[in-house]
């Protein structure tokens, strides 16, 4: 039986977030292929509903990757991103879904290690917890 691979979505900001992703690839870092990135201009754009909908659409885990809070290209965007993730975490725990399934990460463009680290963490969570509702996804 083929083991079902984890399904992870990451909302990544166009600035430091994506720069960090690109740098990690260009410095030869290898990581699990379970992540699909959706680019947004700023993590402040991420709506709680995007995260919840991603889980509804079959993601085992969702993360948001933005600039370091003190250095956000749009000044306060990653602060907003963090708040959105925090609010959804609270909602998830109230409906009995593990709040570890979603996470906020921050990186500077020069942090080549940041994206592979985030991927590693989320893959671990996804493997540990499996799909929501268990069993096979259709």
């Amino acid at each position: 039986m083929v083991e079902r691979k984890p399904k992870i979505v990451g909302f990544c900001c166009e600035r430091h977030g994506m720069d960090a992703v690109v740098l990690s690839a260009r410095t030869g870092k290898q990581y699990d292929a379970s992540v699909r990135l959706v680019q947004v201009p700023c993590t402040g754009r991420v709506d709680g509903i995007h995260i919840l909908q991603a889980l509804e659409d079959g993601a085992d885990a969702v993360f948001v990757l933005g600039c370091l809070e003190k250095n956000c290209y749009y000044d306060t965007g990653s602060i907003e991103g963090r708040k959105r993730v925090g609010y959804v975490k609270q909602m998830l725990s109230e409906v009995g879904i593990e709040k570890e399934r979603i996470e906020m990460f921050n990186a500077a463009s020069s942090n080549a290690w940041a994206f592979p680290e985030a991927v590693g963490k989320m893959v671990e969570v996804a493997k540990k917890l499996g799909p929501i509702g268990g069993g096979e996804r259709q």
Binding site: R45, A54, R84
Partner: protein
Amino acid sequence: MKAKVQVVLCKCCTEMPTLLDMERLAKVAAESDNVLSVLTVEAVCDGKQLAELVNDVKDKELDRAVVLACHKKDVSPAVLKAYRRAGVNEFMVELVNIREEVVLPHQDEPERAQAKAESKLRAALARARLLAPLEKQSEIMRTRNIVVIGAGVSGQAAAREAVKSGAHAILLEKTGKSLKAPGVILPNSTLVGAEGYGGNFKLKIRAGEKIEVLEAAAVVLATGGGWTQLKGPLAKAVKDAMPLYKLYEQLQAGAVPRGPVVIVDTPDPAGKTLKVQDYAWDDTLETAVELKKRHPDIQIWIVFQEMRAFGLSELAYKEAAEMGIKFIRYDKAGAPKIDPKNPTSIAVKDFSQGELVNIDFGSLVFASIPSNPDNEGIAEALRIPMTAEGGVRRGSIQRWPVTTPKPGVFVCGSALFPKSREIATSEGEAAGAMAGEFVKKGTIEFGGAVAEVEQEKCSACLTCVRTCPYEAPFIGKAGKAEIRIQGCQGCGMCVGICPSKAIELHHYTDEQVMTETRTLLGGDF
């Protein structure tokens, strides 16, 4: 109008085919809805190959493209320019990073990489079908005015640099001091209100008794420190205590300060109203050395918690000590005290010796610079953020050290946080130069991927107005929110937070984002 998509698969010279089956990708593309053309090229950054794409678009009358290549930032200028020649709006081109997101990091998993590439292709197509052309706009700057608030060392430096770009500098000086600077100096003036956006501000200025409206393209905040507002028990006890700059002025004027001279770091050592600020140490040491050189008989004491003589000031520290200037270090437990009934003697516990030292002084000088209380009113007028210490907050330190988050508003000197005259001057030059560059452009460009409010859905809750760092949303005449697109940076913060889902971000609408996400999750992993 149905979408007519061109799909371009870039081999990235040879990189892509080493891991991916390009033909399979081309097949997926060809079998997708709305795809009328699939091209595989060696390198999409090659001008000749771009010409091929352009001709293909023109021949088949295609209206949008999905390009699988490398990092957007590297390849987009050339690619978008080419598509523009073909009549395809820049917002109708979807660039997918297969190189850095798929090929490079999954070298050992060709099958999973293939599945990921196909997923990204399908998702990009799903998103491309929902794209709409967007137009950027430009507006002429009505003036070449740069208003510099504060005509101190920093402000003067800013004005000097700003005019080099052909701008007109107008300095607002709150005192009636007579000064020289390249530009118009309005004495007894300050900023009381501001409307508009970077490039076209409408400023309300109080000049003397009158309120005037002045149009400006940019603003430089050089309000300096709160020199005259020294607060704290030590300042209270000694009526004629002076800030460092007064001692400096006395020296320049040839006056002799009454000795012994005690220079304390802060008038509030217990730190209730003022944090210890260290950045004027270079000025303090140099002034003390200068004073000692001119008047070797005057005893000088420097009382401090932390000495931060950085860089070449280290030499001044050495020189000062060698000249016999005495340094006493204290910590909060042994903070200096002055009995108001005997305001000519300061008692402080020397941290290294552990002994209580009593110093009789003729002049008491404070090296620290509190924040200028005027900053509050000006920050309110311009709607820019402040630091917890009462300074003006800058944008990102690495990217914009002399700008505020608001485009067109620059800041320098002690208005940010206390610093010596020399550094304040450098910062003033930087801010002035940046303001000059900004104004030199003569126009501002905006629009495209910006936010827009659907008025019927807006609850006028003010959340967007409060959240935006750029003052783009405002409540318009209809009592609903509107976006001032000249100020909108396209971040989407307001869009993500609107409780009534009344705001959309063009090019990143909910539908576009969620369709892309859903399509990605529907693929193979």
